[in-house]
Amino acid sequence: MLERLKSKRLYSMVFLTLVVLISASLLLWINSFTSVVVEANREAKIKSILESIFPDLTGYEESRDIIIVYEDDNIIGYTFIATGNGYSGKVSIFVGINPDYSIKDMEVLSHTETPGLGSKITEDAFTGQFEGLLIDDIALLRDGGKIDAITGATISSRAVTSAIQERMIEVIEILSNEG
């Protein structure tokens, strides 16, 4: 009898629907507590990066994806996140700039570049080059800028410089318009 029942279309539809409902409920439940942890991780990470770029900060506020960093009542800088397409996936970079729009520091938040090659964009030897640069210098040497690309990882290096430069142009425009 079970065999006859199993060959009925209705049983198949009900069965599959049930499986999907159970699966979706289980996932909703698990997501309800993992998403809390993910969000907390994200907040903590942003806070620690902010503090490492601007050690003297006393407070910050976020407005339109740009974080304004304060020391007491003075604005000591701004930070933003620049994203671009690397060699094998999205690259996300946290950039801190001074009030005069020169770069204070930057840190690669996430990437999926090749280990041993493109992954070197996270190393100080590469990121340290950005300090003090103005918007026009943020490009590879061969592209007219001041950044020495990583050997064997030109595409990854260029992805970082163009992502930062593009986003920085937008950020500077927003900041100058706000006066």
């Binding site: 079970l2 069965f15 599959l16 499986v19 998403s35 280990p115």
Partner: protein, 220 residues
């Protein structure tokens, strides 16, 4: 391969423990999913460039394979044949998503470096293959043995391949942030070829030949 008989091909009785052990060890060498069955090679190429990724992926596949084999085997008599593939895929995808959510919350670094390959475990032929060929036709106990054997065989393959690729390709070995060692001349001029996909193909091909040779010698 129904489990009722407990009689091996010579007609002698074997107890459940022996059969369990056999199903388990089968997945390690004789039916190694990567080197013998040649299943799920795409993620193998991608995650073996570093041993951290290899171990993480291996652990993930063992978890998904185990859970999906258990569930599918437990409800195998009620699954209508008409929709069995969609049912398998929904079950497998559920466990992969659970894995992904948990990694994202508690091991974010690994989640990030595995990237899209974590989600791609859903379409890894190994898992769907074992569900269709084994779990849907065998008891839960043996399905557990099969999952563990194939899962550990997969992880073993990943680790061996990544050892070659990482040592030759970067000149050293770094596990979860600990630099294990660094070979003097090699680390200054590493053979980058092995980090790239063609290098992966080469390593896998040579190891496949080795495993086949071991099989031939054992007279399987």
């Amino acid at each position: 391969m129904e489990d009722k008989g407990n009689k091996n091909k010579y007609g002698a009785r074997e107890n459940r423990g022996t059969v369990f052990l056999k199903e388990f060890t089968k997945g390690l060498v004789i039916s190694n999913p990567v080197f013998i069955l040649a299943l799920g090679l795409c993620p193998v190429l991608a995650v073996t460039s570093s041993i951290d990724n290899a171990l993480g992926m291996g652990a993930g596949v063992i978890f998904v394979l185990l859970c999906s084999n258990i569930i599918i085997s437990a409800i195998r008599r009620t699954i209508p044949s008409l929709v069995r593939i969609p049912v398998f895929i929904v079950i497998i995808a559920t466990f992969v998503t659970i894995l992904s959510l948990v990694f994202e919350a508690y091991i974010p670094l690994l989640h990030q470096s595995l990237g899209i390959y974590l989600a791609l475990i859903v379409v890894n032929c190994i898992i769907l293959g074992r569900a269709e060929v084994f779990a849907s036709k065998n008891s839960v106990l043996y399905s557990v043995a099969d999952a563990l054997g194939i899962g550990f065989g997969f992880t073993l393959a990943l680790v061996i391949i990544s050892l070659f690729r990482e040592i030759l390709g970067t000149g050293g070995l770094t596990v979860f942030g600990f630099d294990l060692f660094s070979i003097p001349v090699l680390s200054e001029h590493p053979m980058n070829f092995f980090i790239s996909p063609p290098g992966a193909f080469l390593v896998i091909g040579l190891l496949m030949a080795l495993f086949k040779w071991i099989g031939v010698i054992k007279g399987e």
